[in-house]
Amino acid sequence: MLNSLHWWRGILITFTALWLAKFVLPLPFMNEVLVFSIYTIGCNFLLGRVGFISFGQPAYLAVGAYATAFYLFYFGTNPYIGLLIGLVAGLVFAFIVGLLFVRLRSDYFALVNLALSVIVFYMLQKVLADITKGDNGLWFLTNIDATPVFNLTKPSEFFLFCIFVGAAVWALYKYLDDTVFGACCLATKINETKLEFIGYDNFKIRLTAFVIANTTTAFAGSLYAIYLGFVSPEMTGHSRTADPVVVTILGGVGSLWGPIVGTLAYTGLRDVASKFIGNWELIVGFILVFIMMTNSVGLYGTLENWSKSLWRRVSGQKGTA
């Protein structure tokens, strides 16, 4: 399965397209899109595959970002070790939190996650202010070493690195969809009693899914930290809590390519709209309510339906002609 070109085709096309997009769109925008879509795929997986809605994703993002930032600010200079530390920190944090949260009913899960992100924000801003420097944030751009293969301090090479990392992350999630585990995730969303009856442990499946999704999110946080060269509690702030959920729903819940399409649209819209109106919340709220009320399948789903019906018409005409 993994060694067939057919399986890799979608990933190759998408990330080649994203790489080519760099010649048209500004580089900082593309970097933002790549990191943001890695950030969102965790939320997309949780909502679309496991049925967990999480408004607390910024908490996991911040854990990864601050773990990397602590290393680069206080201890070392190698960005790759920083990324690794962010990943491990995210894994440990997601595991501990997951043990507590995954047992909860989905309504409680959503509320507790949102509370968690508020607590993490508060901790970073006030409680741990001695080491996080509070609202000023940690600045360590000059601490990062230039590394031989991908020099992550240069935006253009960071972009290439993100293309490869993104392709790997998407391959992982595509692979998960194909495995028994992926099927079990979907089953625990749809009918957990039946799944338990067959002999699978709902708790283990949910915990694994939770840890995978939120480790990805923490990894995106590390990427953010290295790319921007600074971290501040603002990344978990009030106005950011809804970002991953909005992008997930905008792109299309549960679809593999939804996060990328959603991020492109969302980031683009934000960059364009913020020039005209500073009132971003109004637009986000409107998008959310509109998509939910119209029962839309999101941008990717719409595109998919269009292309399918177009294809059917084209091939249908061929058949009759």
Binding site: L104, D107, V112, L114, K126, G285, M293
Partner: protein, 299 residues
Amino acid sequence: MAPRVGSERYGMTAQLLFSGVVFGLSLASIYFLISIGLSLCFGLMRIISLDQLLYYTVGAYITYSISTLTGNLWVGVLGGIAVGALLALAVERLVFKRIYERELTFSMITSFGILLGGIGVVKALWGVVPRPVRMPLDEQMNLFGTDIPLYRLSVIVVAALVYAGIWLFLNRTIIGKAIRAGIEDMEHVEGLGINAARLFTITFVLAGALSALAGGIYAPLIMVDPHMGLEILAFVFMVVIIGGLGSIKGTLYSSLLVGQVVSLGSLIYAPLAVMAPFAMMLLILLVKPTGLFGTPLSK
């Protein structure tokens, strides 16, 4: 000499403790007024209505506008309740009516969208600068040798009156009884010939009005700003989770508990104000995943 210093210090701590308890009670009043709406909406309609925090914000802003115009806070609070209730009615008619049947995540995302969009509108109407609301009763009242701001006491009295009112409404009126029965089993209530749609509307508007009332009476104690709803959100969630979603009794007890923990915790060590209730919530969820008075029902 030494014992006198000791007793003075003891007197000081007792006073501090007492004012801390009163402060905690006033916080609990606000938490209760908002979370009772959330809890009722969940219990009856099985929705999580995050937009309650929008009615809280709007209630506070209307109170600010009217009370600066007329100089009377209580007129402002009444205006805030009216606007909050009307807004809740509009949102219920336009949005929630269509999504009661959907799963829980659906109502949560939609109501979060309404909350964010509403904050955007509030920003456009009143600007982002925090606004102060003048406190009507700025005298201090001497209770057991401790000076307590009279206004904080009146906040507690208002909340207590509201609780009594809700209790009477739910236990003595037929609509209230229908709401209580609906929390237990909606299908049977409908079977008795009670109009479910009207029951839902009444509950939703009641919840919105109570949230707006909370915003209005809390406004003089804090600065009114567009993000006030998001700031109190975590505490309201903790109250609802600890008490158990859908339980009225649980909401009362847990708001009293969280109010005291926040207030007394911050007396000991300032960061405890936020950390302590969160830790308490995690502990309670470990023991009982549905909160103290929550029932293990699911949709």
